[in-house]
């Protein structure tokens, strides 16, 4: 166990999987820009490939290589860059196995950073995993800790389905304890980050840290929040969420995405559908506003979820604050 930054944990997983399995390839723009690059040195230019700014060709090529038995990891840097290649991400990669009646598998990983809400303005800050949650055939992973960053990446590479792996840019340098050697975090198993009996807070990705801070503040007011990190949106561990809601009777969801493009809206609908009888109050969501992230810092803060908003939402569902906050 060592304390390393989130981004180093991701790289460790890719490196480890490339060492373990010769079929793992690594493509991307600006990767291996010098001969000293550690991936290039370890695995050579056949497996570590710098690509032009051609997301459609990069991702499509990954699909073709995956059909031929390779396991490409495509480095996309910004999640928004993936949108340029939606045809391959949505129409081809996740549908191929199904549409061929199961003749093939498409094991590939789309590594995409999201949510760089530090003045990176409207096209580098989006929290867009919700768009992919409902794409059949695609897995979606959203690690919130360094350990999960490693474990979910290793699982993503070994998975036989295409995986969109979203890492949050504001977590990049945040250190965390990461197991040495092989570390796999199974898909579809939520982590209960904090136990509590009064309210369930389902927080996604970077929001997990904010939810834990909010939970600490709530504890000082005598409110015990249970914080759940789904870790993967597809598959979604709805069971853990429903069990928690059954216990607490109250649900707040926190997602940095726009309200109507959020994954939390889908999870809220699932809980309303399958766990309504457990609820003692309406479900409350804390999300970004339905607007593009602005450049100006105070405006950025105005738009985004924060600890105060999470605390306020919990107080509302517990009937301790006015509903109009």
């Amino acid at each position: 166990m060592a304390e390393i930054p989130y981004i180093a944990a991701i790289e460790m997983a890719i490196h480890g999987e490339m060492e373990r399995d010769d079929s793992v390839l690594y493509f991307g723009q600006n990767i291996a820009t010098t001969e000293n690059d550690k991936f290039l040195q370890a695995f050579g230019p056949d497996r570590v490939r710098v690509t032009p700014i051609s997301e459609t060709a990069e991702i499509g090529m990954a699909v073709g290589a995956a059909l031929a038995g390779y396991r490409p990891v495509v480095e996309l840097y910004m999640a928004e860059f993936m949108l340029v290649a939606m045809d391959q991400v949505v129409n081809e990669a996740p549908r191929f196995r199904y549409m061929t009646g199961g003749q093939v598998t498409v094991p590939l990983v789309l590594k995409a950073g999201y949510g760089f809400t530090a003045g990176w303005a409207g096209q580098h800050t989006g929290t867009i995993y919700g768009m992919f949650m409902g794409v059949p055939g695609l897995r979606v992973a959203i690690p919130s800790t360094a350990a999960d960053a490693k474990g979910l990446m290793a699982t993503a590479i070994r998975d036989d389905n295409p995986v969109a792996y979203f890492h949050h840019y504001l977590l990049t340098l945040i250190p965390g304890e990461v197991p040495d050697g092989e570390h796999l975090v199974p898909f579809g198993e939520a982590a209960v980050r904090r136990e509590g009996g009064d309210v369930t807070i389902v927080a996604l990705g970077y929001m997990v840290g904010l939810a834990l801070e909010a939970a600490d503040r709530l504890a000082s007011e005598g409110i015990e929040a249970e914080v759940i990190d789904p870790r993967t949106l597809n598959p979604l561990d709805l069971k853990t969420i429903l069990e928690s809601v059954e216990k607490t009777g109250h649900l707040v969801l926190v997602d940095q995405a726009t309200r109507h493009g959020s994954a939390s809206a889908v999870i809220a609908a699932d809980v309303a559908d399958e766990g309504f009888s457990s609820l003692k109050a309406p479900i409350k969501q804390v999300t970004a506003l339905d607007a593009t992230i602005p450049y100006s810092q105070p405006m950025e803060e105005y738009l985004l979820p924060d600890v105060d908003k999470i605390v306020g939402a919990v107080q509302q569902v517990l009937g301790q604050a006015p509903v109009t906050a």
């Binding site: 032009p52 051609s54 060709a57 073709g64 995956a66 031929a68 045809d87 196995r97 003749q103």
Partner: protein
């Protein structure tokens, strides 16, 4: 080629009788390209096609009965009825993918070519697409990368002059697809796609080079789509070709006339081939009709690996 022609004509009949359920694009008139290209390939050479894929799939060796069963949505279909006409895939015969979004197949073929290169064999990847795909970003990104990395890929453009419902002149100022790739110095050739021997010869030359590891190559085949963009297309955007003109152009009749005059085969041989292919299609239809529709449980089984 008769197998493709008869198959597609029967698909047209079945479509009108509502026995074939969905959207169908026929390649009647373009058979010469499919046959000349695919019959020179091996099962381990990956081939990709688009929405007009029946001919390529048949020429690559996929069994007719399983293609027809797929078109009729049956469990016995190549893709167990989940793919249909636009998504025919037969991995066993190296027919790796037909895609319904124009251009989407091109970068995937790049991936297959890369995989072949990494494995170190002499596999060659081939992708068929129409002239409409050339204006898509997929094509331009892929041709750049394929030339940059020198991948063993042959791009076969079936230029039938129409991108869906509009003529090429409404899409671009560049008349010949082979001119589009000129700056990349791709080895390329434009041939009469209805001249089976010309397609065979040009493709064979590229294939021999690609087997040695070089590439990519672009073969542009000028051809004619006899039917509409899709079955049921009223075709108001163009005038039908005169029957006499078509007799001259038809790739099958042209090859037959040539073969008979050269003494390669006789009129009787040709008639026998036609009879055999019709009989084969009748059997395929019987197989498809007897095949059950897929079980609902297939959905849960196949969405994820």
């Amino acid at each position: 080629m008769w197998r493709i022609r008869h198959f597609e004509e029967q698909v047209g009949v079945l479509k009108r009788a509502d026995q074939v359920h969905g959207l169908i694009h026929l390649s009647v008139g373009q058979e010469g390209v499919a046959a000349s290209v695919c019959t020179q390939l091996r099962d381990d050479d990956p081939v990709y096609s688009g929405h007009r894929a029946h001919g390529h799939c048949i020429a690559k060796g996929a069994p007719l009965e399983r293609i027809l069963a797929e078109l009729m949505g049956r469990d016995g279909g190549l893709c167990r009825g989940l793919g249909g006409s636009m998504h025919l895939v037969d991995v066993e015969h190296g027919f790796m993918g037909a895609t319904g979004v124009v251009g989407g197949n091109i970068p995937m073929a790049l991936g297959s070519a890369l995989a072949g290169r990494l494995r170190g064999g002499d596999q060659v990847a081939v992708v068929f697409f129409g002239d409409g795909a050339v204006q898509a970003g997929h094509f331009n990104e892929s041709i750049n990368l394929a030339t940059l990395w020198g991948l063993p890929l042959i791009l076969v453009c079936e230029n039938n002059g129409f991108a869906e419902f509009t003529p090429r002149s409404a899409h671009t100022n560049v008349e010949r697809v082979s001119d589009v790739v000129a700056p990349y110095e791709v080895e390329r050739e434009t041939v009469d796609g209805n001249d089976v021997l010309a397609v065979w010869e040009a493709f064979g030359r590229f294939l021999a080079e690609a087997r040695k590891g070089s590439g990519p190559f672009l073969l542009e085949c000028l051809t004619h789509r006899l039917r509409g963009h899709y079955e049921g297309d009223p075709g108001k955007y163009r005038e039908a070709i005169a029957k006499a003109d078509w007799q001259e152009k038809d790739p099958i009749l042209r090859l037959q006339r040539h073969g008979v005059s050269e003494g390669w085969f006789s009129e009787d041989d040709v008639a026998a081939v036609e009879r055999e292919s019709l009989a084969e299609i009748e059997k395929a239809e019987q197989f498809a009709r007897e095949s059950p529709f897929p079980d609902q449980r297939l959905i849960a089984e196949l969405v994820y690996a």
